[in-house]
Amino acid sequence: MTDTQIFHDSPVDRAFRAKRFSGRLAIYALLILWALICLFPIYWTLTTSFKMAPDVMKGHMVPWVDFTPKWLGWKSLGLSPDTLGDESTVRAEFLKRFSNSAIVSVVSSVLAVVLGSLAAYGLSRFSYKFAWMRNSDISFFFLSQLILPPVVLALPMLVLYKELALLDTRIGLILLYTLSVLPIVIWIMRDQFSSIPTELEEAALVDGLSIWGAFLTIILPIALPGMVAAFILSLVLTWNEYFFAALLTSTHSNTLPVMVASQTGSQGISWWSMAALAWAAILPLIVIGVVLERYIIKGMAAGAVK
């Protein structure tokens, strides 16, 4: 071993490394900046829900440094530790809205995934002919529902629901929500099913299973990740839906977004309780987003790469 290095980095290489380093730095700076932009509103809402009036007005940001966190906002929702045991009309209201949202979004997502995967499976495997419509026409018919803006359906639906006594019921909302996420589910699932080789079912059919038996026992377990992705995506979309909920519900089956929106109008409501409410409304989504991020990205990327 000699002291002198035989192989040196040439100046060109060193310049390259410096450039590479600075490029790296720029990428990280960009990413961190955007992450801040994404996360700051969430952080701000969370901290505001623990603030008191002077803290809000002075623009304090960091808890325990600038201000001492108080349970004020959560108390007005009846969700702070010391009020949790007591009776609270606001909390009852909140929980009712919350459960409405949960029921509506879960049921409609399940319905959409069931209907959607069946249709997607059928379209990806068999060739149909209903009157003049062939497979591609049927697919287009389903997917074209995406373009339909909700506002076109809203007012006729309002009148129809009034006649059918479905106004302000959960079933009415569930039906419409299922309709609105169905094209997305079909899109994701069609992609999923067409990536499964047909030999699998052919083997199953030879072994004596019926078409439905093959679908239920062989194909479904393989397609499960895609179904989960579609389910999560529709869950998020239906949980957030505001337009139909605002039009078609009033007192019994209001969902959470309607409650949040109805509070924003009034000036009297205080920032901290509003922040607590908004935070409580988005908390389930944040949990879903952090835990199931993989599926959501998978679902959204499904259509992008063919």
Partner: protein
């Protein structure tokens, strides 16, 4: 059996219509019985397929439920909507529906706020190009070899998950509040004397665009990222060997390869953008002077303030027709661009 249940449905519907006309009383409170009859008929239709066509019917059974569902929930209301679009129907007034021919059309033609909302939609859609550029940049950054990729992905994804109404409170009402909001504070520190984000028309429009972009950039980013990851690494390496620097490699290799994905992402984004309403309704309710109105929020207010179902439906129908024409043109155009040049 199909015919039997169909006959039952028709009978019930006929009985109900008779009652609606007023010539006979069957004691129905609403149209629910017709709904039940319809559901029964639909189930019988599905079941009948299997009985009649056997194996072939079982195949039909995969698509039929979804098709029936979609048809009954879109085609029927659309036809019904066509009827009410040409009538004067104020839900709060007792006279009910009155056919008024083309009156609504003339009213629409002369309604400056509707066309203003339409123009706003054009601006909102144009903003997608900027969103696309940002989303592409972020996707490129995420695609580079970085640490903590999972953290960044989750952080970037979160805005998409949040409900627009909550977002509009969090950002629109509290962070942009002119006196105490942190962004207003920042604006003041940067030398903007009077940071009001919803005061003048253009700034208000821009603010709405920014808030909407904040929510939906992650969506485009994820689609583009998926596209980027599908590009084989060798292509970029080959470009490097051929002496292309990063900038040229991007424009001549990555970008053309990404064109189909980009177009899909932009088209889907346009579709979503055309439905934009929640943020506008919750933050500005169209103000100042209709500067931030979208078509959807305009119709929403049209209904809520005046409960004029007929006119609102006509506006929505016209909007639908315009959207269909525009999207068809766009898709044709996209098809031409993304087809590889030979």
């Amino acid at each position: 059996m199909i015919w039997g249940s169909g006959a039952i449905m028709l009978a019930v519907a006929a009985a109900q219509s008779l009652q609606a006309v007023g010539s006979a009383g069957f004691g129905f409170e609403n149209w629910r019985p017709t709904l039940y009859a319809y559901v029964t008929w639909a189930i019988c239709l599905c079941w009948g397929q299997v009985l009649m066509h056997g194996e072939h019917g079982k195949r039909t059974l995969f698509v039929l439920p979804a098709a029936l569902f979609v048809i009954s929930l879109t085609v029927f209301p659309l036809l019904f909507g066509l009827i009410i679009a040409f009538s004067d129907w104020n839900l709060s007034s007792p006279d009910g529906r009155q056919f008024n021919g083309l009156d609504n059309v003339w009213q629409m033609w002369a309604d400056p706020f509707y066309w203003n909302a339409m123009l706003n939609m054009v601006w909102y859609v144009l903003a997608i190009l900027v969103e696309y550029a940002i989303a592409f940049g972020l996707a490129l950054a995420l695609n580079a070899e970085i640490r903590a990729r999972k953290f960044f992905r989750v952080a970037f994804l979160l805005p998409l998950m949040l409900s627009p109404v909550a977002v509009s409170w969090m950002i629109g009402k509290s962070m942009l509040e002119p006196r105490f909001g942190p962004i207003a504070r920042l604006g003041r520190a940067l030398g903007w004397d009077d940071p009001s984000f919803f005061g003048s028309p253009w700034i208000a429009k821009l603010t709405i665009m920014l808030m909407d972009a904040w929510t939906f950039i992650p969506f485009m980013m994820i689609m583009i990222l998926a596209g980027l990851q599908a590009i084989p690494k060798e292509l970029n390496e080959a470009a490097k060997v051929d002496g292309a620097n990063g900038w040229r490699a991007f424009w001549e290799v990555t970008f053309p390869l990404m064109l189909p994905v980009s177009i899909t992402a932009i088209l889907i984004r346009i579709i979503f953008k055309l439905k934009l309403a929640d943020i506008v309704i919750a933050v500005t309710s169209g103000g100042p002077g209709g500067a931030t109105d979208t078509v959807t929020s305009f119709i929403f207010r049209e209904y809520r303030d005046r409960s004029n179902v007929g006119y609102g439906t006509l506006l929505a129908m016209v909007y639908l027709v315009i959207i269909i024409i525009a999207m068809t043109l766009l898709m044709k155009l996209a098809d031409r661009i993304s087809r590889p040049r030979t």
